[in-house]
């Protein structure tokens, strides 16, 4: 069998993704869960790199690992009560989770069965993906782009207001 390095890396990444995502769910320590979430997101970035989508991979690192996870860890560290809290799930929660998970698994399986895995795109990845993405943002996808901008602005203002309210007390 012709084994390429890409396959080896893919298998390693897949194993890491499965383990770390499981640890996020199974782990009882909040801080550890956040750490594993960060590891998982890094692995996803690795997948993007493997697919020659460097820009997306880097953005994954920039936004998720550098931004979201760090803010999450900040939140956990600043809230001292949460550092040592062990998460205990109640029975009702388990039932609800089971329903949601079953639905999700069903969805994934249906997608899985419909995908043909032996299709390889003949189109090569564009050399200069950034300028292409930039152009597309400003032409075809200008509406979603602007909507997201407004959403982020709203979130920013909301954060400032919440922080100010707390400061006043």
């Amino acid at each position: 069998m012709d084994v390429s390095i890409s396959l080896v890396i893919f298998l390693a990444l897949a194993a890491m993704a499965i383990i770390s995502s499981l640890m996020v769910v199974v782990g009882r320590n909040l801080f550890n869960a956040a750490m594993f979430l960060g590891a998982y997101l890094l692995v996803i970035a690795g997948f993007y790199f493997l697919l020659s989508a460097e820009l997306v991979g880097i953005m994954q690192v920039f936004v998720y690992v550098g931004g979201v996870v760090v803010v999450l860890l900040f939140g956990i560290m600043l809230t001292s009560q949460m550092i040592n809290v062990r998460l205990v799930s109640a029975l009702q929660q388990r039932v609800l989770t089971l329903v949601v998970v079953a639905a999700l698994v069903g969805l994934l399986v249906s997608i899985f069965s419909k995908t043909s895995f032996y299709y390889i795109s003949s189109a090569e990845a564009p050399r200069d993906s950034i300028s292409l993405i930039g152009k597309l943002f400003m032409t075809d996808y200008v509406l979603p782009f602007e909507v997201i901008s407004v959403l982020l602005l709203a979130a920013l203002i909301g954060a400032v207001i919440i922080a100010r309210e707390e400061g006043r007390q």
Partner: protein, 335 residues
């Protein structure tokens, strides 16, 4: 991944699987980079000691090796042979992994940096964003170190460090937009090739913002609040000693080297200089160590800011300056 036909033939004739060959070459590149960094680390530490000693009317190391140049070997031996102190209240795995994460982040950042024409591990076409994004993994390492130590100095120091690094990533990234606009690419080697005139002259404001933000990213005085020894003893690595501390130390100097290299590549014309092409890496190294010297000079001269002053500088001074830089660059380019 293989480019050389000879290697391919060699692999085929000896029955070596391709993936093993690829992995071997990748490991070789990594080892080469690591060795270069080890050497760079030694040079930098020696330089830091001698520069600080020169500024402080001291000799610096003089006993180990000629003019004390092998001091770091002695230090490394000390690091390795030291007792592995493990705080009883520390979170075992987070405490152990934090130096590794820091080290990995610093090392990964080097992968796309060119040392000369063609001398680069991976000349990524988005190299510029890559070098800006990778240090954010280091922030996670800082937080892990602080939290894992379960030491209050360390927790506070890591919070300071993380807040500062996240804040300064913003002006640091924005200060480089002007360069991307002029060069029209994010490939670092193309940016160097495009520098007929050094970008420091085309982007003086951008350079200023970038340089200050770089100092803050590196946690060096006047922004060394994370390890402010007069306040938080040693910040996030208070509890670390021996080789674990050695990793932080190594990572710090690797990021310093990476930052200086990035500055030289982006603003100081990279490997451009008089003489034949073979001298290109020499010119680059001269520029890199020039930048490192300036960083050391600043470190050993200035006092440090207070945390709120650092935040004010980042958000209220550097960020508007970076935005103005983008605006001015855009106006000039479109005229």
């Amino acid at each position: 991944m293989l480019s050389s036909a000879e290697l391919l033939n060699f692999a085929n004739s000896h029955g070596i699987p391709l993936w093993a060959m690829d992995a071997f070459i990748a490991a070789l590149i990594a080892l080469g980079l690591f060795a270069a960094m080890g050497l760079g680390f030694m040079v930098q530490v020696y330089m830091e000691r001698k520069v600080s000693a020169g500024l402080q009317l001291r000799y610096g190391p003089i006993y180990v090796g000629p003019k004390g140049s092998l001091q770091l070997v002695a230090d490394a031996l000390k690091f390795i042979t030291k007792e592995d102190v493990f705080p009883s209240s520390a979170e075992p795995w987070i405490f152990r992994l934090a130096p590794v994460v820091m080290f990995a982040a610093a090392f990964l950042g080097l992968l796309v940096l060119p040392f000369g024409p063609g001398l680069v591990a991976k000349d990524l076409n988005v190299g510029l964003i890559y070098v800006l994004a990778i240090p954010s993994i280091g922030v996670a390492g800082v937080i892990m170190a602080g939290f894992g130590s379960k030491n209050r100095y360390a927790i506070l120091g890591s919070l300071r460090a993380a807040a500062q690094m996240i804040s300064y990533e913003v002006p640091r990234s924005l200060s480089l937009i002007g360069i991307i606009m002029i060069a029209g690419t994010m490939r670092l080697s193309s940016i160097v090739d495009g520098q007929g005139i050094w970008y420091i002259f085309l982007q003086p404001l951008g350079f200023l913002v970038f340089f200050v933000a770089t100092m803050a990213e590196l946690n060096r005085t006047p922004f060394d609040l994370a390890e402010s020894e007069s306040e938080y003893v040693n910040g996030y690595h208070t509890e670390y000693s021996g080789m674990r501390f050695g990793f932080f130390f190594f990572a710090e100097y690797m990021s310093l080297f990476a930052a200086a290299l990035l500055t030289a590549v982006l603003f100081l014309g990279g490997w451009h200089g008089p003489g034949p092409v073979i001298l290109a890496p020499v010119w680059l190294l001269i520029k890199v160590f020039g930048v490192i010297y300036v960083l050391m000079w600043v470190r050993w001269t200035f006092p440090r800011f207070r945390i709120d002053q650092v935040m004010d500088l980042g958000w209220k001074v550097l960020l508007p300056m970076a935005l103005v830089n983008i605006l001015v660059t855009g106006i000039i380019m479109s005229v």
